[in-house]
């Protein structure tokens, strides 16, 4: 029973993500019943998996650990910002002391540090990160919530593109090991790794926007707008995934159980999907954890070049503006995404390779 469910859950997950992506990418509602059904299958399979594998306590402890890590990150960033030379309200022209006093009072900066710290941590528990110093009166939570959708969309599309191109390319190259196709694909992938985003992106714009006038160069308001940024952001991870997949497929193909599988007369496709792919995806997964966090929190360069209203601008502007609450907010958000994706990757590890015990 559990094996059947495990077999079903992964395709269901892929289907679910694909439908969601297609819906939001092309901007229409498609097959909501299918979406509900696959979602239910995934949830049920996950619950059964957790129950059968007895990883309840594991997940529980991982949550506690994640919580402690976030707490440590919050503390560290808080202290780091307080020991920084210079204050957030220092300006070229010195303000009168009464004004400075009022500002300090408004943002509770005149209180002793431990009190400020206590207030901040207490706020974080209720998802209240305070008010921005720079955009006066705007709550950080609201600012982050406003710019998250664009970044997350961009990140997820790029991630899917990276996996859709990277894994097949890697498998293909491995199957043509040391032949022309392999060399060509690996040349492309090394170029993908070596070329910086701000070289790829302008070249794409030069070709598709200025030369052929096919696609819009900037903004984020529809399918046509998504294509260029997603291509530019997805290239590098796709190239890395292709290289990782190729290397690990080559290693797996050489192992005994593949020879056995072939010897007992399994078809090429069955060997590929049942044995090769499942075993060679482990190194790719390792890379996926940090990748997800990196992509979801936005690419600074891409968002700047294409004028996408995403999170990335806060990462840069908060520090240069010394907007302390915003710095803390983006840092905690990034850490939370990173920790969550690492947890998911660890669970997927044991799904792909039951020899890896979660404990």
């Amino acid at each position: 029973m559990i094996d059947k469910l495990k077999g079903l859950a992964f395709p269901a997950l892929v289907l679910w993500i694909l439908i969601l992506t297609i819906n939001s990418f092309l901007g229409f509602e498609m097959a909501p019943p299918v979406l509900w059904a696959t979602g239910a299958v995934i949830l049920f399979a996950f619950a059964v998996y957790v129950f059968k594998m007895k990883i309840f306590s594991y997940i529980f402890f991982r949550f506690i650990e994640a919580f402690l890590t976030l707490f440590a990150v919050a503390t560290f960033t808080f202290l780091l910002l307080r020991v920084l030379p210079g204050g957030p309200f220092d300006q070229e022209k010195t303000l009168p002391p009464e004004v400075m006093e009022n500002i300090a009072k408004k943002y509770n900066l005149d209180a002793p540090i431990y009190e400020q710290y206590y207030d901040y941590i207490a706020g974080v528990f209720t998802l209240d990160f305070g008010e921005s110093y720079k955009y006066i009166g705007r709550p950080i939570t609201e600012m982050l919530a406003e710019s998250m959708p664009a970044s997350i969309e961009l990140g997820i599309y790029s991630l899917i593109l990276a996996f859709l191109i990277g894994i097949p390319a890697g498998v293909w190259a491995a199957s043509r090991h040391n032949k022309f196709t392999d060399r060509l694909l690996m040349f492309f992938s090394i170029s993908g790794v070596a070329l910086p985003v701000f070289v790829v992106s302008p070249v794409l714009i030069l070709i598709f926007c200025y030369k052929f006038e096919l696609l819009p160069a900037a903004m984020w308001s529809g399918t046509a707008y998504y294509i260029l940024p997603v291509l530019a952001l997805g290239t590098r991870p796709a190239a890395t995934i292709a290289r990782l997949t190729r290397a690990s497929v080559l290693e797996v193909i050489a192992s005994d159980y593949i020879r056995t599988a072939k010897a007992k007369g399994l078809s090429e496709t069955a060997v590929l999907f049942k044995h090769v792919l499942k075993n060679s995806l482990i190194p790719v997964l390792t890379y996926a954890g940090p990748l997800v966090a990196g992509l979801l929190s936005g690419s600074f360069i891409i968002e700047q070049i294409h004028a996408i209203p995403g999170l990335a601008k806060h990462f840069v502007a908060s520090v240069t503006n010394r907007d302390y609450p915003l710095i803390m907010g983006v840092t905690l958000l990034y850490s939370a995404i990173l920790i969550t994706s690492n947890l998911l990757v660890d669970i997927l590890y044991s799904y792909f390779d039951p020899r890896i015990k979660l404990s």
Binding site: P85, A194, P196, I301, Q304, R322, I327, T331, S335, L338
Partner: protein, 300 residues
């Protein structure tokens, strides 16, 4: 077969260098990098103009006999700025790699060698640094160093703050790798042998462990240099790294990108230079890995 048996035996290093020499793409890359270093070091003698000389009567010109790669919006010679940019980019990348190597290997070696509670605490700190976004960390460090006023010379000041920002953000990876290597090497029989004849821990660390883990560390360093070049240009591109009139490839890309629609030649030159350099370092890194550690061939 008998021929190969009669050959004089080669040491591990000779063997590796032999393998490296047989790898054509790695050797071409090595020559290119050496060429680049020479250009960077002797930029003053090679560049036809200075990086800040402005020719107001010749702004935004395309490539010509006088200005081989054209001029920018202030009439500065693009080729000279590219050459000086190579100097800045390479200096930042190489020094950052060295600084992060020193910090990272000391930290990683101590953590891996002592193990136990020391290792746990030290690795928790590394994990903490990992969960803070790199860009935020780099900009924070840069803000601190910018406000310190360590040097009078503006060029030196700009260079130190970006060096510090990049190294403090990148030593963490090296520390992790070195720790892993030390943990592995610690279990080796030669370490046990050294311990049994009464060698002191520091002596073993210095004489046995460090030489044995140099291979992977050198490879990682070759891969670290291009990623430093990238990060420096990221920062400069965002306007947070070096500022004009100083020239680095990131600064040039930033300037070129602003005028891309009308004057594409300004973005092409730095892009090509950067792409070639990053290519060369990737090929050299791959070649070194294959040469030092044939078992690792093909892995990342």
């Amino acid at each position: 077969m008998s021929n190969s048996l009669n050959q004089p035996s080669r040491s591990l290093w000779q063997d590796s260098i032999y393998r490296l020499k047989k790898n054509k793409s790695a050797m071409v890359s090595l020559y290119f990098i050496i060429f680049l270093c020479i250009v960077a070091i002797f930029a003053k003698f090679i560049a036809p103009y200075s990086y800040e000389t402005q020719n107001m009567d010749a702004i935004l010109q395309g490539p010509s006999g006088k200005f081989w790669l054209g001029t920018d919006s202030l009439g500065r010679d693009q080729l000279s700025r590219l050459i000086y940019g190579a100097r800045m980019s390479m200096a930042v990348a190489v020094f950052t790699a060295v600084i992060s190597l020193i910090i990272g290997s000391i930290y990683g070696a101590i953590s891996g060698w002592f193990g136990g509670i020391v290792d746990r605490i030290m690795m928790r700190i590394v994990d903490l640094l990992f969960s803070i976004p790199t860009l935020v960390l780099m900009i924070l460090v840069k803000v601190i160093f910018d406000s310190l006023d360590l040097f009078e010379n503006p060029e030196l000041k700009a260079l130190t703050s970006i060096l510090m920002a990049l190294s403090l953000a990148s030593w963490v990876t090296l520390a992790r790798v070195v720790r892993g290597q030390v943990l592995q090497a610690k279990e080796m029989l030669y370490v046990e042998a050294a311990q049994s004849i009464g060698a002191k821990p520091m002596y073993i660390l210095w004489k046995h462990i460090i030489p044995n883990i140099m291979g992977p560390v050198i490879i990682l360093l070759t891969l670290q240099v291009p990623s430093n070049i990238l990060f420096e240009s990221f920062l400069s591109f965002l306007g947070l790294g070096l500022q004009p009139p100083f020239s680095s490839w990131g600064v040039l890309s930033n300037e070129g990108w602003a005028l891309m629609k009308s004057y594409p030649h300004l973005i092409i030159a730095p892009s090509v230079a950067m792409a070639l350099t990053l290519f060369a370092f990737s090929f050299l890194g791959d070649g070194l890995r294959d040469a030092f550690d044939p078992k690792m061939r093909g892995r990342m």
